[in-house]
């Protein structure tokens, strides 16, 4: 009788312990942005301004990712509440929306997107004050520098390193495909931290590889202005290859204008210079034969990428009417990075804002083949991503106006990537390539 009693008592004690251990999930420490049942993740994005068409697609992909996370059970037993605010590409509005995000009672635990370089630079100091992490939608090479953006956790590589890799790839391509062993280079870029960062990288590569720059158009292309003088100068210089750090409409105008004057070099440029939608215009065939696409990530058509297949499967089921686009991969990977940091924070038992920052500095994000794996903790020179991808344009694989349900393509085929040039590998990272001095 006594033994039975003892056995029962031990059994009771054990079951109590088991129940207590079973609810470990709820024992995670939390603070601003997290409650017993929700984790609030924020994004301040350009939904109505200059970059709206692109950013809207990125946000749609992020929203889709968070829906998937919620369907799979959420984070630490909590559902993710994805809050998007519009900044209209205006710095003052960005700051106003940031007030909503930083609020200790109704704010967020991290910003999985902050659109715009000046906008993110404006909140950089406040992010440190509030202990909030943010993922920027900008690839300026200053973000890995802790003096410029300590709590800003950049995605993938940057304009500068992309240019170095890209110019070397162009040189290799010219040698192997076009039989030109010493091609000349022309550089065209916007003024500002995007254009001049890209141009800086192109110049580093040209110097290291001994390529002659016959036309230095750094900071000469003004968005929206008449490009005739640029085109004339370019045609006169007659370079074999042109590196552009501009935007799709500028690229179309300049390429078309140059071709009209009979000048058809090998064109390439940074990610924002190109848009797959250009393949649907009259310039499509020119892009097919004379343009090399660069990117930090894979594009929609790439085969054999686990993350891409997962993304297409989920979005095909849940967002079948959205048009096919390469931009979704940006949003999906941003959300992946945020998700993995949050999971790390939950595993550490600390879902406070500070805990999320610590998690970002600890975690290595596995993008499942969508982009090079990434970490942020430690010396920037060790963690900065140097790999990029180069693609050939295949017009036959471009399906104009296709939706995800149709299963169409965006017209690019992977040539090389993820790869890093020796020059990029040898670069010591000590701040941005294009320094702005303040």
């Amino acid at each position: 009788m006594k033994n039975l009693f003892r056995v029962l008592a031990v059994g009771l004690a054990l079951s109590v312990v088991a129940v207590a251990c079973g609810s470990d999930e709820a024992k995670v420490e939390y603070g601003a942005g997290v409650t017993e049942d929700t984790v609030r993740v924020g994004a301040i994005a350009d939904l109505s301004g200059a970059f709206a068409p692109l950013v809207v697609q990125i946000i749609d992909a992020q929203q889709s990712y968070w829906d998937k996370v919620n369907a799979d059970g959420g984070i630490a037993g909590r559902q993710v509440d994805f809050v998007v605010e519009d900044n209209g590409y205006d710095v003052t509005t960005h700051l106003e929306k940031y007030e909503l995000m930083r609020d200790p009672d109704n704010g967020v635990v991290l910003l999985s997107q902050s659109t715009g370089s000046p906008h993110t630079a404006a909140i950089a100091e406040m992010l440190v004050e509030d202990g909030l992490a943010a993922i920027p939608l900008s690839w300026y090479s200053a973000w890995p520098d802790p003096d410029f953006g300590e709590n800003v956790f950049e995605s993938y590589s940057n304009y500068c390193y992309e240019s170095i890799n890209g110019v070397e790839f162009l040189r290799d391509y010219m040698a192997s495909e076009m039989g030109n062993d010493s091609p000349t280079l022309a550089i065209l870029s916007f003024p500002g931290e995007y254009g001049q960062d890209g141009a800086a990288g192109a110049k580093i590569a040209a110097e290291a590889l001994g390529i002659e720059i016959v036309h230095d158009g750094e900071a000469t292309v003004i968005p929206g202005a008449d490009q005739t003088p640029i085109i004339s100068a370019l045609v006169e210089a007659d370079a074999d290859m042109v590196w552009t750090t501009i935007n799709p409409s500028g690229l179309a105008g300049i390429m078309g204008g140059a071709a009209a004057e009979g000048y058809v070099p090998l064109w390439s440029g940074n990610v924002p210079s190109f848009s797959y939608l250009l393949l649907g215009t009259a310039l499509g065939p020119l892009f097919d034969t004379n343009y090399i696409v660069n990117s930090y990530i894979v594009t929609w058509n790439t085969d054999g990428v686990e993350g891409l297949d997962e993304m297409k499967a989920w979005m095909g089921e849940n967002n079948p009417d959205l048009p096919v686009s390469d931009a979704y991969i940006i949003g999906w990977t941003e959300a992946m990075a945020a998700h993995q940091a949050l999971e790390q924070a939950a595993a550490n038992g600390d879902l406070t804002r500070a805990g999320v920052i610590a998690a970002f500095n600890e975690v290595t994000v596995d993008y499942k083949g969508l982009a090079p794996n990434q970490s942020w903790g430690g010396d920037a020179n060790d963690t900065v991503v140097r790999e990029t991808y180069s693609y050939d344009v295949v017009l036959a694989d471009y399906d104009d106006g296709a939706t995800i349900a149709d299963g169409g393509g965006t017209g690019t085929a992977l040539l090389r990537g993820p790869w890093v040039s020796d020059i990029t590998k040898a670069q010591t990272y000590d701040g941005a390539c294009f320094k702005t001095g303040g």
């Binding site: 994005a45 939904l47 109505s48 709206a52 068409p53 809207v56 697609q57 946000i59 749609d60 929203q63 998007v84 519009d86 209209g88 205006d90 710095v91 003052t92 700051l95 106003e96 929306k97 007030e99 909503l100 609020d103 370089s117 000046p118 906008h119 630079a121 404006a122 100091e125 300026y140 916007f190 003024p191 500002g192 931290e193 995007y194 254009g195 001049q196 900071a219 003004i222 849940n318 967002n319 009417d321 959205l322 294009f434 320094k435 702005t436 001095g437 303040g438």
Partner: protein, 420 residues
Amino acid sequence: MRSVRGRPSLYTSYEAETRLFPTRVQQVALGVFVLVILLMPFDLPVIDQLPVIRFLDENYWLKVVNKALIFVIAALGLNLLSGLAGQISLGHAFFMGVGAYTAVLLGGPDSGRLWGYGLPIWIWLPAAGIAAALVGVLVAPAAVRVRGLYLGIATIGLVFIGLHLSRVFPEVAGPGALGRKWPRLEFRIWKEEEPFLDLTRKGKWLWFEVTQHQKTYFFLLVLVALFAVVSANLARSRTGRSWAAIRDRDIAAEIMGVPEFRAKTTAFAISSFYAGVAGALLASFSIQFNPEAWDLLLSVEFLAILLIGGMGRVSGALAGTFFVILTPHFVERFAHWMGDQAEGEGLMSGFWDGFVSIGSGDFGFVSVSQTALGFPLPVAALDEIIYGALIIAFLLFEPQGLYGMWVKVRNYWKGWPFSY
């Protein structure tokens, strides 16, 4: 000396007639208004019951209000130029840019690639206004040669000149899309390390804990009060009367002896001073400002503010600014509220559910989840549609703006029950 009690339209002296707030009712209303706006940023029981402004003390809204106050200063300037003097100017963004760049040149830190002298705010803020005023004086002769629509077109050119200069001088404006950091809103005597009053950090005033938004709010309130009083006084002074004559018919005014050139130059100079100060404050308030922001759209926004608020009136400029700045935020919050109602179980949730689309596949006119442009309308597009529709509606039905609407309401009740 005020008007006779019970007979508000009877004035027995010139001073009484030209007083800013002649009647007892207006003076009491002003007193209440001043009390409310002074106490608004604090969480006080009575203020918290008032309908619209009860939530304005939250950080987010206070920041929006602060931005609106800066815009009020610029709107008052444009009001003097376009409303009182009748000179259509689309170059207001240019003058704001001139003020901002002067401020950053004088007040910003000097570094390798950027110019700056690091001077304190009591130098760079007035200097911003003065520099813009001087540029305004240079531009004024154009107004003597052309008028109306043609002057408007000529002033558009100013905006593009400003944008071009900002690209030619990245040492002042900062590189292309990134811009640079503006000097903070803090007060020092000279170039010391620690400011004696810092509006960008929270602190303690007397026995209150104040946030940076509340501090900035009071500073801006003082400036707005100053500029508004100067503006109202200018309107009833000799200069103001000469502007009114120019506005109505400048050739006739010249014949009557109003010096056209001097009046127009003064109008440009003073309005540009206002714009310069507002531009410097706006850039400083935004911390990092990119040069492309001083564009034509900003100039048009001020014109819209005056059209909606009522040209020629200080209260019109005030009402118009708050209306134009706050409405998009209200629309966004309202759309989110609609989304919550649609998901919830209130009385009207069925209606909201039909009106709002919550997820993909759900029918609705307005979407709170998807941001893709198209149908259903994303919230961001709703803002723009309402903004445009309001401008058209005001131009068609109430050209006097909100002030005109107020006058109509007031006259109706003045004559009640005999209003017809």
